[in-house]
């Protein structure tokens, strides 16, 4: 049963469960309990499974650990503490592991010293021992591991991958026989991906191996739905036999947030001017606060912002960049400086949105939309370190859609509406790995193994035939007997319904290849003395010519030459980069946020419509004033005056120009053409998030292509998608009706499946899945296959596998991953059903030039290709055409 914690316990009740020395230490160091602690101490001491969500700085880690530490000191004082692991802590970040290790070592020492002081040295003659803690990750040396094997720590801090390795280390597992607690940190970073699913299977295996009951404690920042997260934590079997209590302290921090526009008119203000004003605004914020954290959405954006702030306002070492392409040392240095309060400002892409303690940040600035409410809250939650502080955040947007998006996002955050996460549904590649792991441990009856697997939440509905197909694949039954020595990963006796380990190599191969994170093709950047600087993406390298200047880590480098996966550069003497690093790193707009925007569009448009009628407004110009009722409608929204004005004009233009405003109940399809009248565009104004739009665009594109018997260009955006046709093939109302009726009656899954088969994405994802399923062994017999080689091999493999068996588990999982984790076919199906039922309507209009709401979609795809400035000019031109039509 999943239940929500009711009223918090009184401080006295909470403290009563603690060992007196632990209690004293806590009171001396903290003095009072934070919101999550008011639940956690007591519930954990009662052995409950617990899911705690709380913002950064709310004492989450101590919430999870203190009762456990208290219990361990009880054991110690009773002389019962042994060299055994009592608690395993798992987090997805090594940096966080090291943090937790440091943060717990001190209290453990202090509490121990206090006991010794209090009881006198004599106590040491008894069996009173220190409570120990140790870290084991991929960075841990062989020697440290051996030491740990001889003397295991009482609290083991580790990563999902290292935990999987431990599960197959016979000797070390003996030390876990008395395990009582498992803490999973940063649950929000695990529950929605394969790495987390991998961990959840490890947990089920761990529970099976350990004799006693294990209490599971999940810690996370904001995530939704919480029930789903709790089920992910405790597994699907728990619902009948075990409870999980949810402690939701996510909202214990107040938010003070606003969306800002640097200028009043984002269309007709010169691009350079907008940029100047934006940096002025940012600089003002930096100056007003002790420390500021700026989020951009891309690494290149981070570089650009650091570069500009330094150049424009003369900042020096007091501003630093932090992103995943920088070396670990550089990143740790920045984190350290932040903690010490030595930085005025840090700029990050996504890397600082997670766990690691970065001390007191006063203000968080977000440049451009972060595309999801949850992400926005995570980022803004970085401000105001203590839970009592208010998290102050500002979103600066540079186009009108972004203004709407950011405002609605912040409004949703204030109303506590989050976007939901989804646990990947029964990924077969992750399961393949665990079956191999299980087979190495012992012999299994197939039914017994199947029921264990189904306890992990992701696999609750795993069809038996998929499990059997996996066993056949892993046994190598797709090749002849003579080859199974090499192909077979497990021994499998179909008649006896048993499987187990095959050969001596199994363990080594397993240990060297396990994990779910695919090899990325990163190009390492070195200076001419071969010192490593950072890395860039392969795609970016292909755009560089010798002599080009680009920024990395906030510094300028000149590209000299490349060799294989290495790129060599020298320090650049000039002051400006020659290559603007546009990547396709853009984050996708979430489904829920898109829906909220749709609702806002609907309601705000009706306010403006009424206003137009009442006041007989038929033109827009600089002097157009915002009517009172419109002002009132925007009054409650977190946006500044510039933003309000811009959003009002945006809607007014759309209504006067197109009459129609697409919203959550209306999909608007607009036939129009480009400025030069060349191509014919069908713009689908669809607010379902990018992943659904990706699916829908393919569906409409394929079916229209079949109808017209021609290639249809497809462009996907956050606010819709666009189909590109030759000029002469304009659609009539009748043809559009036919298109919709064909789409509504189509088999969505098989249409999409056929379409993605031909894409590059399919090939790349197949490589990842084949790697995770051990069909491509990255590390084998002491040799490593390079990513490039893997990619070549995987294309041939893909064809071969498809020809042999279209239902082959590796292929099946690739399709599932693309359709459910990359795209969102299930929700796209729902949208189509809504269109069928009529709860979502569509309307087809023809416009002489693109309507204002179409402009973003029209330029979305250009983001990678043309520079911001060109894009701005293009937008300006589109808008001029709109105003010409309205005002005559």
């Amino acid at each position: 049963m999943i239940s929500y914690a009711g009223k918090p316990f009184s401080d006295a009740e909470s403290m009563a469960v603690l060992n007196p020395y632990v209690k004293d230490w806590f009171m001396k160091n903290f003095g009072e309990l934070t919101p999550p602690q008011k639940y956690a101490f007591k519930l954990i001491s009662e052995g409950k499974n617990l899911l705690i969500t709380a913002p950064t700085g709310s004492g989450k880690t101590i919430s999870g650990f203190l009762s456990i530490i208290s219990r361990l000191f009880d054991y110690s004082l009773e002389g019962k503490l042994e060299d055994k692991v009592y608690c395993v802590y798992v987090s997805p970040l090594r940096a966080l592991n090291n943090d937790v290790y440091r943060n717990l070592t001190v209290p453990l020492e202090q509490i121990y010293a206090e006991i010794v002081k209090d009881k006198g040295e004599d106590i040491l003659k008894g069996n009173m021992r220190k409570v120990t803690i140790g870290v084991r990750t991929g960075d841990t040396t062989q020697q440290e591991r051996r030491k740990m094997l001889l003397k295991p720590p009482n609290i083991l801090v580790t990563t999902p991958e290292s935990l999987a390795i431990i599960l197959n280390s016979r000797k070390f597992m003996e030390h876990l026989s008395g395990l009582e607690y498992v803490i999973i940190d940063e649950l929000h970073e695990l529950a929605n991906n394969k790495r987390g699913v991998h961990l959840s299977l490890s947990l089920e295996r761990l529970k099976e191996e350990v004799a006693g009951r294990i209490s599971l404690i999940g810690l996370g920042a904001t995530l939704y739905p919480l029930d789903e997260a709790a089920k992910f934590l405790v597994g699907s079997a728990a619902s009948s036999t075990e409870d999980c209590v949810i402690v939701d302290a996510s909202w214990s921090k107040k938010l003070d947030v606003v969306t800002r526009s640097p200028v009043r008119d984002l269309i007709y203000t010169d691009g350079q001017k907008i940029e100047d004003e934006m940096y002025k605004m940012v600089n003002q914020i930096i100056k007003e606060n002790k420390s500021t954290l700026i989020f951009t959405n891309t690494r290149s954006g981070t570089e650009r912002v650091v570069f500009n702030l330094k150049r424009r306002f003369g900042y020096g070492e007091d501003i630093a960049a932090h992103h995943s392409s920088l070396s670990r040392e550089s990143r740790m240095e920045v984190e350290d400086l932040l903690k010490k309060g030595a930085l005025k400002c840090a700029v990050s892409s996504t890397s600082l949105e997670l766990g690691v303690d970065i001390g007191a940040i006063e203000d968080v600035v977000q440049l451009g939309s972060p595309k999801s409410v949850t992400r926005a809250i995570q980022r803004i939650g970085r401000a105001g370190h203590s839970y009592k502080a208010t998290a102050k955040g500002e979103m600066i947007a540079l186009d009108r859609d972004d203004l709407v998006e950011c405002t609605i996002m912040l409004d949703a955050a204030l109303k506590k509406h989050l976007d939901s996460f989804k646990v990947p549904e029964a990924p077969l590649d992750v399961l393949a790995q665990h079956i191999i792991g299980m087979s190495i441990t012992r012999k299994w009856n197939v039914d017994e193994a199947f029921s264990l697997v189904k306890k992990a939440y992701s696999y609750r509905d795993l069809p038996r035939k998929d499990f059997d197909a996996l066993l056949n694949y892993l046994a190598g039954n797709y090749v002849g007997l003579e080859s199974r020595r090499v192909y077979g990963k497990i021994w499998y006796d179909e008649k006896e319904r048993m499987f187990g380990r095959r050969g001596k190599m199994a363990q080594v191969i397993y240990m060297l290849n396990l994990g779910t994170i695919p090899d990325e093709v990163a190009i390492n950047v070195f200076d001419l003395s071969k010192k490593w600087i950072g890395n860039i993406e392969e795609e970016f390298l292909t755009k560089l010519k010798p002599g080009d200047i680009f920024t990395l880590g906030g510094r300028l480098y000149r590209f000299e030459y490349a060799k294989g996966m290495k790129c060599f550069v020298s320090e650049a003497k000039t002051s400006a980069p020659t290559i603007p690093p546009w990547f396709s790193e853009q984050l996708p707009l979430s489904f829920e946020l898109a829906e909220e925007i749709g609702k806002f569009r609907g309601s705000f448009a009706s306010v403006i419509r009424a206003s137009i009628k009442k006041r007989k407004i038929s033109r827009v110009s600089k002097s157009t004033k915002m009517p009172t009722e419109v002002k009132n409608a925007l009054a409650q929204l977190p946006m500044d005056e510039n933003a309000k004005d811009a959003v009002f004009r945006y809607f007014l233009e759309q209504i006067l120009f197109a009459k129609e405003v697409p919203n959550d109940k209306l999909m608007l399809v607009e036939q129009t053409h480009d400025i030069d009248g060349g191509k014919n565009y069908l713009v689908f104004h669809a607010l379902f998030g990018r992943r659904v739009n990706d699916t829908l665009s393919r569906l409409f594109g394929i079916i229209l292509g079949e109808m017209l018997d021609m290639d249809v260009g497809i462009l996907v955006g956050d606010n819709g998608f666009m189909l590109e046709l030759e000029r002469e093939s304009r659609l009539s109302q009748k043809a559009m009706k036919e298109l919709f009726s064909n789409v509504l009656s189509s088999d969505i899954v098989s249409t999409i499946r056929l379409n993605i088969r031909k894409t590059e994405m399919m090939k790349r994802r197949f490589r990842h899945v084949a790697g995770r399923s051990f069909m491509i062994l990255k590390n084998y017999k002491g040799w490593k296959i390079s990513v490039g080689r893997q990619q070549v091999n995987s294309q041939l493999l893909l064809n071969a596998v498809e020809e042999i068996d279209p239902d082959f588990p590796v292929l099946k999982e690739t399709y599932r991953e693309v359709m459910e984790d990359v795209m969102d076919v299930p929700r796209a199906k729902e949208v189509v059903e809504r269109l069928s039922k009529g709860s979502l309507k569509y309307k087809f209009i023809i416009t002489p030039t693109p309507s204002p709401f179409a402009h973003k979609t029209l330029t979305f795809g250009h983001a990678d290709v043309i520079m911001m400035k060109n894009k701005h000019d293009y937008l300006k031109e589109l808008n001029r055409l709109v105003l010409k039509r309205i005002n005559g």
Partner: protein, 245 residues
């Protein structure tokens, strides 16, 4: 029809010589998946499966009663792996079951195949073999000469061409090469192996081509007849296909 006598069955990497009632294929590299597996890539066994299908189609389409393998029937240089042996056995048995005669020309990968000659009653030629007006040789060495020969047939090079499709993406297509070498006609066969996608003769620097015969003749002067998507298409001279990008 490529010539009066040579027919290229649609979409297949096979040539048919009417006067010999033979089909000729090359570079099968049986046992290839075993080699991949030993390097950690575990592909289903598809090569032999495809080869058998192709031969069956080709025999049906042409009515030929002899199958000539123009070298590199197997993959490993130095030894015969067990999987390779099994595949060889399977292949030979299969060809016999069709009623066709099997002839092997040895290629550079074909050490130790003689062993199977007697056991299976096969004709195995060490270097090259002349049938009618044709001389079949694998290609890693220069062919011999004889007055009665009009056409040379080789494999070894695994020729393919790189072309660009509508969306500017490069595609690689296996191809035959047909042209003149001295007074002879020269036919180069594409690799039959599933995993050998081939060398793009229109993109590769000429010096990188494997067969010594390409030191003596310009590959640009040969015609590329590509196969793919179930059909066969003459793309004209290789030289014309250079610098497409």
């Amino acid at each position: 029809m490529l010539t009066k006598d040579i027919e290229l069955p649609e979409g297949l990497p096979v040539a048919h010589m009417r006067s010999l009632s033979s089909i000729v294929i090359s570079d099968l590299h049986l046992g290839y998946e075993g080699m991949m597996a030993r390097n950690g890539v575990l592909s289903p066994k598809i090569n032999l499966l495809r080869i058998k299908k192709t031969i069956s189609k080709a025999l049906d389409a042409t009515g030929a009663n002899r199958v000539i393998v123009d070298g590199d029937i197997k993959n490993e240089f130095s030894k015969v792996e067990m999987e390779e042996f099994n595949e060889l056995y399977d292949f030979i048995t299969y060809v016999k079951s069709t009623g066709a005669e099997l002839v092997l020309i040895k290629g550079n990968h074909d050490n130790f195949v003689e062993r199977y000659g007697n056991a299976f009653g096969l004709k195995i030629y060490r270097q090259e073999a002349a049938f009618g007006e044709y001389l079949f040789f694998h290609g890693e060495e220069m062919p011999g000469s004889s007055a009665s020969i009009k056409t040379l047939v080789m494999g070894h090079e695994h020729p393919a061409i790189g072309v660009y499709n509508k969306s500017d993406r490069k595609e690689k297509l296996k191809c035959f090469l047909y042209g003149k070498y001295m007074r002879y006609n020269l036919l180069v066969l594409p690799a039959m192996n599933y995993f050998s996608t081939g060398t793009e003769v229109n993109m590769e620097p000429k010096g990188n081509l494997l067969a010594p015969i390409f030191r003596k003749l310009d590959v640009d002067s040969m015609r590329a007849i590509a196969i793919g998507y179930g059909s066969t298409e003459d793309f004209g001279k290789v030289g014309r296909l250079r610098n497409l990008a």
